[in-house]
């Protein structure tokens, strides 16, 4: 079986599970049996994906069927495109989807069966959509799956739709990403107009042969970037991601690690040869990426909700990836995407375990958890070290690659921002670690209603995914630290961007400084947290208000919509209705005036007749002679 067929199996397994769950209502409403069925689909998919990745022999396999027939040749095709990028991404998606589904079985054990069945139906569809996006051989299929991914994230973020915040967050996520999707659609159609094809392979061949006209290409790539901006939560469309925390924690892990937000980065990596033609757009990508990274890192420092810290750290890391892509080294960004997928899923699932035990998202309700749940603490710290970019852990080499490529790309400004972010990342993540797992447990932590039975580490279905991800993070970290980025083949030409020698010590040193500051502040208490906060008074205030970006959006959109509605209402009331009212009033008054002629007396009619006849005669006399 070649890798093309295997990827097709990986793609069709979750959609079969979804279709069965969607059609067979009793299975779905039964809850756990439906969940097992969905997990089976995810397991088959994972097996096929791993086999496809391992047996991938360097030959790009393309299985495509004609779709949308038109004159000459079909307008579009559907199918799978298995190459080294898509197979490794497929493994990440399948792995995280599978682990999240296993984990959810225990995490959502209190849910009613109908809810659980619904959850797993969406999960299967989500996995299918993302895999379809990853394997898409053309931009049209990619766009369809892209929209499906958006729909699934809407459904899962709003899983607890009875909660108003969750419903609002789901809608917000949907329309924020939709704003970017419009750009993507316009970009794809404009590219089709320019090149005459949606097919990625044909497009790439045209680019290689220099057949693609460069005029107007910047607008197209910028439109495509807009789509990626919405999905991958780049400033200013990042506002939906922190709110998406209203969904169940495993959903956050899925969205942040493998699906949804990675789609934008993946798209840019997939079309990096196209973006290479428009360096002006790439510079924008890099600057926005670096700025997003800094903005989100600052926001993460002031959050008290453990999930929101992680959410902002995702935004920040996505900024990292975008900066690398903007510097022209999309492979570095993609490599970070893969390692980040591993440890961010780990961190979210670990946070879920903590929330499951404490029944609160608030950091102030945690503390001293390392004693109560030692395994969770261990895997969470592994994830944190990976995110901080410490050697031997997964994020180390990928972060180095990104910093090196941004430096190599000559973008000194973004490079400085990213170094600052590296410091902040280590600081805010270890702030979480020290606050949640060390220090004294707060007095009111044990007063929850579900106190009994939730003290220690979570049960095996939750622990196993955590350990799997932790060990994978370690394995990837050790492998990449000593041998190199084995997950992604660095394309020829990009390999020799040898980072300057001082880069590694500097980056690690900055990360260690961040950890040290967090340790001094939150563990030793040498530095008072309050006085540290007051040092950054205005920035802290601004960060607490999310830099007013949400307010700005809300204000502009609300005020704009209201003003526009008022204008439209005025036009309707006074212009449209006014014309009609005047016409009808005229008709009525004219009729009133005209009817007084009709006296009803026969003699008046005779009079009119005679006068009319006389006038006719006079007219005939004057005009006919």
């Amino acid at each position: 079986m070649n890798s093309g067929l295997l990827t097709l199996v990986a793609l069709l397994a979750p959609v079969s599970a979804f279709l069965v769950l969607a059609v067979v209502a009793p299975l779905r409403r039964a809850g756990r049996p439906g969940a097992y069925f969905s997990i089976l689909g995810a397991a088959v998919s994972l097996g096929a994906a791993v086999t496809a990745w391992r047996t991938y022999d360097g030959a790009i396999t393309r299985l495509a069927w004609d779709w949308l027939p038109s004159e000459g040749r079909p307008l579009a095709t559907v199918g799978v495109l298995a190459d080294e990028t898509s197979t490794v991404m497929l493994v990440l998606v399948a792995l995280v989807a599978f682990l999240v589904q296993v984990y959810s079985l225990s995490y959502l054990s209190d849910e009613p069966p109908q809810g659980l069945g619904r959850y797993y139906t969406y999960q299967s569809l989500f996995a299918f959509s993302m895999m379809g996006l990853v394997l898409a051989p053309n931009l049209l299929q990619l766009f369809i799956c892209w929209e499906l991914v958006g729909l699934c994230s809407y459904l899962l973020i709003g899983y607890w739709y009875q909660k108003p915040e969750a419903a609002r967050a789901a809608v917000k996520a949907f329309w924020t990403t939709k704003a970017g999707d419009v750009g993507l659609l316009i970009g794809i159609v404009m590219l089709w107009k320019l090149a005459g094809t949606f097919d990625l392979g044909e497009l790439r061949a045209m680019v290689t042969a220099n057949q693609l006209p460069l005029a107007g290409l910047s607008i197209i790539t910028f439109c495509i970037y807009l789509g990626a901006m919405g999905k991958s939560a780049q400033f200013p469309l990042h506002v939906w991601l922190p709110d998406a925390m209203e969904g169940p924690t495993p959903v956050s892990a899925l969205i942040h690690a493998a699906t949804m937000v990675t789609a934008g980065v993946y798209l840019l990596h997939r079309t990096s040869w196209l973006f290479a033609l428009t360096p002006d757009v790439l510079v924008i990508v890099a600057w926005i990426g670096a700025f997003t990274a800094l903005l989100a890192a600052v926001l993460a420092c002031v959050q008290d909700d453990i999930k929101r810290v992680l959410a902002y750290s995702t935004v920040s890391q996505l900024g990292y990836m975008m900066a690398a892509i903007g510097a022209g080294f999309s492979t570095a960004g993609f490599f970070h995407l893969l390692t980040h997928g591993l440890f961010k899923a780990l961190l979210f699932l670990g946070a879920g375990a903590v929330i499951h035990a404490v029944h609160s998202n608030d950091l102030s309700h945690m503390g001293g958890l390392a004693k109560r749940m030692p395994q969770t603490a261990t895997v969470f710290i592994i994830g944190t070290l990976s995110l901080a970019g410490i050697p031997l852990f997964a994020g180390f080499l990928s972060k180095e690659e990104i910093l090196g490529s941004v430096w190599e790309g000559g973008l000194v400004g973004p490079f400085a921002l990213l170094m600052l972010v590296a410091f902040l990342t280590a600081f805010y993540m270890f702030r979480v670690v020290f606050l949640a797992f060390f220090g004294a447990a707060p007095a009111h932590a044990h007063t929850g209603p579900h106190e009994s039975g939730h003290h220690g580490d979570p049960p095996a279905p939750m622990m196993l995914p955590l350990w799997t991800l932790a060990l994978l993070s370690l394995a990837v970290g050790v492998y990449s630290t000593f041998i190199g980025p084995g997950l992604v083949a660095v394309p020829e030409g990009a390999a020799e961007h040898a980072a300057p020698g001082w880069l590694t010590p500097a980056a690690v040193g900055v990360a260690l400084a961040g950890i040290g500051l967090a340790w001094l502040t939150y563990q030793r208490g040498t530095i008072n947290a309050a006085s540290l906060a007051s040092m950054f008074g205005p920035i802290r205030q601004a960060a607490l208000a999310k830099f007013w970006i949400d307010d700005l959006f809300e204000g502009v959109l609300a005020a704009g919509t209201l003003a526009f509605s008022r204008l439209v209402g005025w036009i309707d009331r006074y212009l449209v209705d006014g014309v009609l009212n005047v016409v009808s009033a005229w008709t009525v008054t004219t009729g009133d005036e005209m009817r007084s002629i009709q006296t009803g007396r026969a003699q008046d009619y005779v009079y009119g007749l005679a006068v009319g006849l006389l006038l006719l005669l006079v007219w005939a006399r004057w005009s006919l002679t």
């Binding site: 009817r595 007084s596 002629i597 009709q598 006296t599 009803g600 007396r601 026969a602 003699q603 005779v606 009079y607 005679a610």
Partner: protein, 99 residues
Amino acid sequence: MGLQAYLILAAVVFGIGLFGVMTRRNTIGILLGIELMLNAVNINLVAFARFSGSEVGMIFTVFAICITVAEAAMGLAIVILLFRIRRTVMADHLDLLKG
């Protein structure tokens, strides 16, 4: 006397008839006016027939006189019915067609 004299006579009689129709308040007066107008037309027809040498106009006139008699009978019958229903024969009171 030439044709013109007959035509002037007919026009004068027609004018008197029309004036009567338009100004008389009494319905019977209006009917009388209509008769005058009809007779003016008859004078025209006879005069043209006499001066053109064709008898068609004369025959028309005979028919017209017959029909005028019938019309006068119908008109008087309507006036009598009007008087029975409305208790008046004054034309300016009969405004059922008023809009």
